[in-house]
């Protein structure tokens, strides 16, 4: 069980690092049109990473439902709120 856990942790880390470089590439390329699309992608990727850290590293995936629910709720609400605020201003 521990070996499987460790391998999973490394895979999650790889995904997180790749996502970091992907969003860096997207964020750095200012020739890309539609700022809103880039912003949506950057915010979305950031909170996908937040969720991965919470579910796999913080082990909220196997935590009591209430705690996991609060975390998942936070991720969804803050992602939407930040993008909504960006679009509204």
């Amino acid at each position: 069980m521990t070996v499987v856990d460790s391998r999973k942790a490394v895979v999650v880390w790889l995904v997180l690092v790749v996502a970091t470089f992907a969003s860096w590439w997207v964020g750095a390329d200012h020739a890309l049109s539609a700022d809103a699309a880039v912003t949506a992608a950057v915010i979305a990727v950031a909170f996908i990473k937040v969720r991965l850290i919470g579910i796999h590293f913080m082990e909220l995936g196997t935590a009591p439902r209430v705690l996991r629910g609060m975390f998942e709720g936070y991720v969804v609400v803050v992602t939407i709120a930040l993008f909504g605020l960006y679009v509204a201003l």
């Binding site: 942790a9 490394v10 470089f21 439902r65 930040l82």
Partner: protein
């Protein structure tokens, strides 16, 4: 520690660490959510200033710091699993590596701050830099505390026998460190990458 409840597929659900640390973690996440909102608001107020100031930041430093914290979180997660397996030497080595990553993060930040200040880009320069220094500074404080927490985890993992309470303490400290990583991931996206 909380009583484990039945989850789907017959697996038991359990809260990693003490309840108190989760109250703190969720509270801190809420406070930072407000900070995140302020950054977006700041950008909306003066997009030109935001983009121009952001252009002066080193995305390389930001990305390097992100990878450092992500890697440190991996080491911590592996260290917690090693602790549960009573592989104490392995656990201590992993926590030490995570601590090293934390120190490197602080070092990169220090160089970054020094570079900016040398260019005259201080917190007084404009709103972007004020919030940049304040929010990343508060985060850096979290990192500093986190480094002390990791040092404590190394000490706990030195005990001859790791009881349930010791594991719970280790899990609590680990969860705090993952919070530090998680918060930076968003700060990096909003300050360094946002169009």
């Amino acid at each position: 520690m909380s009583t484990p409840a039945r989850a789907s597929k017959g697996a038991t659900r359990r809260m990693p660490g003490e309840e108190g640390v989760w109250v703190f973690i969720l509270g801190d996440m809420l406070v930072f959510a407000l900070f995140f909102g302020v950054i977006i608001y700041l950008r909306g107020e003066d997009p030109a200033l935001f983009t121009q100031s952001q252009g002066q930041l080193s995305q390389t430093a930001g990305a390097l710091n992100t990878v450092l914290l992500l890697t440190s979180s991996l080491f911590v997660a592996l260290g917690v699993r090693a602790s549960r397996d009573d592989a104490k030497d392995k656990a201590r080595a992993l926590f030490a590596l995570a601590l090293l990553c934390g120190l490197c993060f602080a070092g990169v930040k220090a160089i970054e701050y020094a570079d900016k200040i040398a260019l005259g880009l201080t917190p007084a320069e404009n709103d972007f830099y004020m919030y940049f220094f304040v929010f990343t500074g508060i985060h850096l404080l979290h990192v500093t505390i986190g480094v002390a927490v990791l040092a404590a985890l190394i000490r706990i993992a030195r005990r001859p026998k790791l009881a349930a309470h010791d594991i719970s303490l280790i899990e609590s400290g680990a969860s705090y460190w993952h919070l530090v990583d998680l918060l930076w991931v968003v700060l990096f996206a909003l300050f360094y990458l946002l169009a």
